[in-house]
């Protein structure tokens, strides 16, 4: 196989180096897009699982039992913290918000990521409709918004 000899043909060398650089940049750009998409899908999948667990268990614990889909806005900070710690040990950040249809916030937990963190690991949100237990007789319509990031 012939070796590339620099200086033998300057024009050919410039073309070779220029094209190689361009192609490597193109490939890197497409790979970045692929990796970002992969990360986004994985985060969304994870956010769906976490939202399901919160809706059916962690946030659905009431004095008289667990009612999947019925959010207890009085869920203690300690319970949310211990759930969040389990996730943070796996490198997952979590933020939870439960709001009524009128926009009133019933429960909020977790911190927002800063712009630099968002650049390297964009957060992913999932929102699901839920019922919010206000009194024994009154259960209003609301939305559970779960945001996760790695």
């Amino acid at each position: 196989m012939e070796q590339l000899q620099l200086g033998e043909d300057l024009f050919a060398t410039i073309i070779v180096v220029g094209l190689t650089t361009l192609l490597i940049i193109t490939l890197a750009h497409f790979y970045h897009g692929f990796a970002r998409r992969k990360n986004m899908y994985e985060s969304f999948d994870l956010a769906l699982d976490i939202a399901g667990q919160l809706r059916d268990d962690v946030l659905a614990r009431h004095d008289n039992g667990v009612f999947p889909g019925l959010i207890n806005p009085m869920t203690s900070e300690w319970e949310l913290q211990s759930y969040s710690q389990v996730l943070s040990r796996q490198g997952i950040g979590l933020s939870i918000e439960v709001r009524g249809i009128d926009g009133k916030i019933f429960l909020a937990y977790g911190t927002k990521t800063n712009i630099i963190d968002q650049y390297f690991s964009p957060p992913c949100s999932v929102s699901l409709p839920v019922a919010i237990s206000q009194t024994q007789a009154s259960k209003s319509l609301g939305e559970l918004i779960v945001t996760v990031w790695r």
Binding site: F34, D45, R55
Partner: protein, 221 residues
Amino acid sequence: MDKRGQGYAIDMLVFALMVALACSILIKATPNEPNTLNDRYAANLATSVLQTLQQVTAGEVGGFKYKPDILGLQVPWSSGERDLRYKTLAQLLVEDMLCNLRVEVSGRDILPLKSNQEFDRQVRKFLKATLDEIVGGRFDYRLVARTNPIDLSPAARVHFETSIESFSDNGRIQACSETILMCLPITQQELRSSIQDVYSITNLRLEPETMVEIILSLWSK
């Protein structure tokens, strides 16, 4: 450019072609199919909506009132409006079934057992408005509620089926379908006597509990 230089340039063009091919594969390749994720989200959303229908009381989504009627006529001795704000949305749907059970003979509906069409109309309107608010912006939906048919004779049966939908079916692929089962809020004895009030059937055999199926199907917009 001598012949060797031309050869290098051709090699580079072949290399460029291979890289372009690799890029096009990367564009197409996704770790998970977006449709799979969309379907997973749809299934999660449908479960949430069905759970919400079982929990949220009508009073919290604008309230529910109606004037009782029988076969489309107002009941003159009725005290007026019935306010059902304390019932959950699923309970309203099940009560609608109970008030509008239909009798079918040889595959044709003949008449409702004890019709309350105004209630049926109002419940459907109320649930549609609520579903439009919860699901409408994200997916197209169809909510089907039906009872298992109760056979009165080999040719006749009592049943109920209703559907509330946000679109007309145009052959699109369904994203998901989730089902919940509920019991009719009536004892076997009460159901038997309400059927026998209208039809003189003595040997009526009923299932221990008449089940109601509520199915929510979603389609991507």
